[in-house]
């Protein structure tokens, strides 16, 4: 809001970035002075017009909002739809700021052409210090930041959906501004045309009205004029009490197509009018190995088979149908090159992890947090608790296995595949087809589950290579067995704790060392608890499997580790686990409110039937605070999860029912893993293959779930997709302890109750 009069912008190293970078009217407030980038005005709208506003009578207001001649408004969102409903919610935010009714809004996924990037997401993760307190507070650095992060995002091809971030970054900092700016530009256009002050014009349901003269026009009629207006620098956005759509459970735009079979997923997509061929593939089972020899003598004779290929890193059968390709592939005998991992099994790997922790000792490894004198205070503590926890690798197991349809033709390539990083998928296909990424046309589809799996390039790369080698348009589908064997897994981990309590049962020392690198950085940290002496470290280990981001990433294991250990400390102190935690949250009022709400929902402290127990856990992740209470019934000797209670403070729930659904989803995903799942290795290979040995939660064992929302910080949104997961496993383990006195320190739980 204040222009600094004589600021001398320092000469920038990045002076060559001279293009005004923002896509759409993304003018936001500045923070600290970071770096000066010379900018000059320019608007990429003309380049994007043919891609997103092809129809007659369509005007592109700014590149995120499209107004059709029929007065239907389209939100163009640079995120994928994988079940989290983000695109629909973001469109709600646009609609509200633009004063358009929900019925008149459409959602379109932004094309993967390098111009659309999720720069707000990038900024939130890389430069969070530059974000404003309120989305539209404008400082003089703002075009610089927006330009800077857009350029960074473009260079990195960061069109990304992940980190529970779409609504709280693109939605809150991008789409709302775009909507508000579009509205102001329309008002400006109407004011100019009618010769009246802008202050006398009102907007409602995509109609501009000048009450005094009785003039009224649809947005569509002024869209062309609006597109000529300057992009406003600080459009007025709504305050919470003005929200009409934001904060309501507007029905999702994609759901109707998901109940009648018309929704197109990656596995369904393909070129019109082309005869597809189908590929089944099998990659080398041990990481780093390659195909040494391939015996396809039976496969050659089988029905429908067209070609059999050894691609070096995988073998493939191409046939007239996927089933025929897979049947033939199943008969191929393959040998692989030797690797160091060929003799490794899970027991040995965990033994190696343990040794790495032993070697790290009391002070080795990388420090994640170090304040006070954790080791010294522990040694002198009145009461001590030590514990070691262990969790396995986990697979994503999206319902839709990995797949990609690729068509290489005339020096170009078209692909259909679900991806959380469309430019990465495009890049993988480009490399496979031997062409530039700009010559790859990626068609948007729904994802049958993402959960962090669909961030990689290998499956689009495989399909493009097969399409190029065979000359056919290829639909490549991984079997469930291949999908289980070739995941990018949530890492296995061992975490050791030593905690010290004083004679009053207060935690005075917290020491933790574990084996995984922590992404996000705060996953293993406990700064919201009042513990004065803390040391958190990680030791480096070799991982024998490819690693990836698995829903909530490092929070998935550290939530279990931390909240289980807090419970063990509570037990040592002879205190109720809820009261123990309350005593540590004096300086974290939002955490305390969430904890108390979850406890109240569950009737914490009230009597339960015999052999029943309650457990509580509290985790902050992706800027949301979640507490969960699990109620478990141990009557049969095996855990039956009766009910889960969940309270979330995500700042403000833009779509409450959507947020509740994401809590339900994260809880079930987390409980399935906690109860049943482990990916184990034998001879360097993943042992599990399908749903009979990698078990899912089902209708008959899924608990009832109750969710309560606290809107604790309306200008500081938290995420929804992942935060429901991390508290689930510890709440359950803590409940089992409460019911039986048995402390489970190794997941999955079911193996302790055979």
């Amino acid at each position: 809001m204040s222009e600094v009069k004589d600021a001398k912008t320092p000469r920038s190293k990045a002076a060559k970035w001279t293009r005004r970078g923002f896509i759409g009217a993304g003018v936001l407030a500045g923070g600290a002075l970071l770096v000066g980038v010379a900018v000059r005005s320019g608007n990429p709208i003309d380049k994007l017009k043919p891609i997103v506003a092809g129809g007659d009578g369509e005007a592109l207001i700014n590149s995120w909002v499209k107004i059709g001649a029929d007065n239907l408004i389209t939100a163009i969102v640079p995120h994928c739809e994988m079940g989290q409903g983000a695109n629909s919610t973001i469109a709600q935010m646009l609609a509200d700021e633009m004063d358009v009714n929900w019925e008149n809004i459409r959602v379109m996924e932004a094309p993967a052409d390098g111009n659309y990037v999720s720069q707000h997401t990038v900024r939130a993760f890389i430069g969070p210090g530059t974000l404003p307190d309120r989305p539209n507070q404008v400082g003089f650095m703002e075009p610089t930041y927006d330009g800077l992060f857009t350029q960074v995002a473009k260079l990195a091809g960061a069109y990304v959906t992940g980190g529970s971030s779409s609504v709280r970054t693109t939605g809150q900092n991008g789409m709302r501004i775009a909507g508000a700016a579009a509205r102001e530009m329309l008002v400006a256009a109407a004011a100019a045309e009618w010769g009246v002050p802008t202050s006398e014009i009102t907007t409602e349901n995509a109609v501009l009205t000048h009450a005094k003269s009785g003039k009224s026009e649809t947005y569509a009629n002024f869209a062309a004029g609006a597109a000529e207006q300057d992009l406003p620098r600080a459009p007025r956005i709504k305050t919470v009490d003005e929200y009409k759509l934001m904060g309501t459970s507007a029905p999702r735009k994609d759901i109707p197509s998901k109940v009648d079979g018309t929704a197109i997923f990656g596995i369904d997509g393909g070129p019109e009018g082309q005869e597809l061929k189908y590929a089944a593939v099998k990659a080398a089972p041990v990481m780093g190995a390659r195909v040494d020899s391939m015996d396809a003598s039976t496969a050659r004779t089988m029905g429908g088979v067209l070609q059999i290929l050894n691609m070096g890193d995988f073998v493939a059968v191409v046939a007239d149908s996927y089933w025929q390709a897979q049947q033939a592939l199943n008969t191929i005998q393959t040998t692989y090159t030797k690797t160091e991992l060929d003799t490794l099994d899970s027991d040995q790997m965990f033994a190696d992890f343990g040794k790495a922790l032993d070697d790290a000792g009391a002070s080795g490894g990388s420090s994640k947090a170090d304040y006070g004198d954790a080791a010294g205070v522990f040694t002198a503590a009145a009461n001590k608790v030590e514990a070691e926890y262990k969790v396995p690798f986990l697979a994503h197991a999206t319902m839709e296995p990995m797949n990609c349809t690729a068509w290489v033709h005339d020096g170009k390539c078209d692909i259909w595949t679900g991806s959380q990083m469309p430019l990465v998928a495009r890049g993988g296909a480009a490399e496979g087809a031997g062409i530039d990424a700009d010559d790859v046309n990626m068609h948007s589809v729904f994802l049958g589950g993402g959960f962090g799996r669909r961030l990689t390039a290998e499956y689009s790369n495989q399909a493009a290579r097969l399409a190029k080698a065979t000359g056919y348009p290829i639909k490549m589908i991984w079997s469930r067995e291949e999908d289980t064997a070739q995941d990018f897994y949530r890492p296995a981990d061992i975490s050791r704790f030593s905690g010290g309590l004083d004679e009053n049962g207060k935690v005075v020392s917290w020491n933790n060392v574990h084996c995984t690198e922590d992404e996000p950085n705060d996953a293993a940290l406990v700064e919201f608890y009042d513990i004065p002496n803390v040391s958190v470290r990680n030791a480096e280990v070799e991982m024998p499997l490819r690693l990836g981001a698995w829903r909530s990433v490092a929070h998935s294991q550290h939530g279990f580790f931390v909240e289980s250990f807090v419970d063990e400390l509570a037990n040592e102190a002879g205190q109720d686990p809820l009261e123990f935690r309350r005593g540590l949250l004096a300086n974290s009022p939002r955490h305390l409110a969430v904890l108390d709400a979850a406890a109240k929902m569950s009737n914490w402290g009230s009597e339960l039937p015999e052999d029943h127990g309650r457990g509580i856990a509290l985790v902050r992740s992706f800027n949301s605070i979640v507490a969960e209470v699990a109620e478990v019934d141990m009557t049969s000797g095996k855990p039956r999860i009766v009910k889960m209670y969940c309270c979330i403070d995500a700042g403000f729930a833009m779509n409450p029912d959507g947020l509740i659904a994401q809590m339900e989803s994260g809880i079930i995903y987390g409980l399935a893993a906690a109860m049943y799942d482990e990916i184990t290795l034998k001879d360097g290979r993943v042992e599990q293959s399908n749903f009979h040995d990698y078990q899912m939660m089902r209708m008959d064992d899924a608990p009832e779930i109750a969710v309560q929302i606290i809107n604790g910080a309306p200008d500081n949104l938290g995420g929804g997709g992942e935060p429901g997961l991390p508290p689930a496993a510890p709440a359950l383990a803590n409940a089992i302890f409460a019911a039986t006195g048995q402390r489970i320190r190794e997941l999955p739980i079911a193996k302790h109750f055979t």
Binding site: F125, A156, I308
Partner: protein, 155 residues
């Protein structure tokens, strides 16, 4: 932050690979069996092994899908489905301790290889009213292998 940091690295890698990849993208070996649209050779069923021991071995692997509901230990307990140790040659619906559907319980069938083959191919078609609503095996070669495996258990 790994999501984005990891993703940025991955995307940079993917994009960079286009320029100078160390990974060969072309096939090491490419067998062209036939061109699209041309006639197929005589169809061979899946399941390469012709010797019985090999067949039983591949049947054991194929049985993995059945193991979710059926155990095969001698005197093993039944679970969702009846224990199948010794099922080849057994009268349908006759294993003690398992609650069969009316269809199985009242059946006069003996589980010879042919009957098993038809049943596993499509249980509810072969025996309407059966409780086995999952686990059908469409591939004739895999069924043959599974039956060989089940036969081998009691030998």
């Amino acid at each position: 932050m790994k999501i984005v940091a990891h993703a940025l690295l991955a995307s940079a890698a993917a994009l960079g690979l286009a320029a100078c990849s160390s990974e060969p993208q072309e096939p090491v070996e490419q067998i062209i069996v036939r061109e699209a649209g041309t006639a197929e050779p005589a169809v061979t069923a899946a399941g390469a092994s012709t010797d019985l021991a090999g067949l039983a071995a591949s049947g054991k692997a194929a049985f993995a899908a059945c193991a979710a509901c059926h155990s095969v230990q001698p005197d093993g307990a039944s679970g969702v489905g009846p224990n199948l140790y010794g099922v080849v040659g057994r009268a349908a619906g006759s294993l003690g301790g398992f609650v069969y559907s009316d269809a199985l319980a009242s059946s006069s069938l003996t589980w010879d290889e042919a009957a098993l083959d038809g049943y596993i191919a499509n249980p509810s078609a072969a025996m309407p009213g059966t409780n086995m609503v999952a686990g059908a095996e469409a591939d004739v070669g895999r069924r043959e292998a599974i039956i060989a495996y089940l036969t081998s258990l009691a030998e």
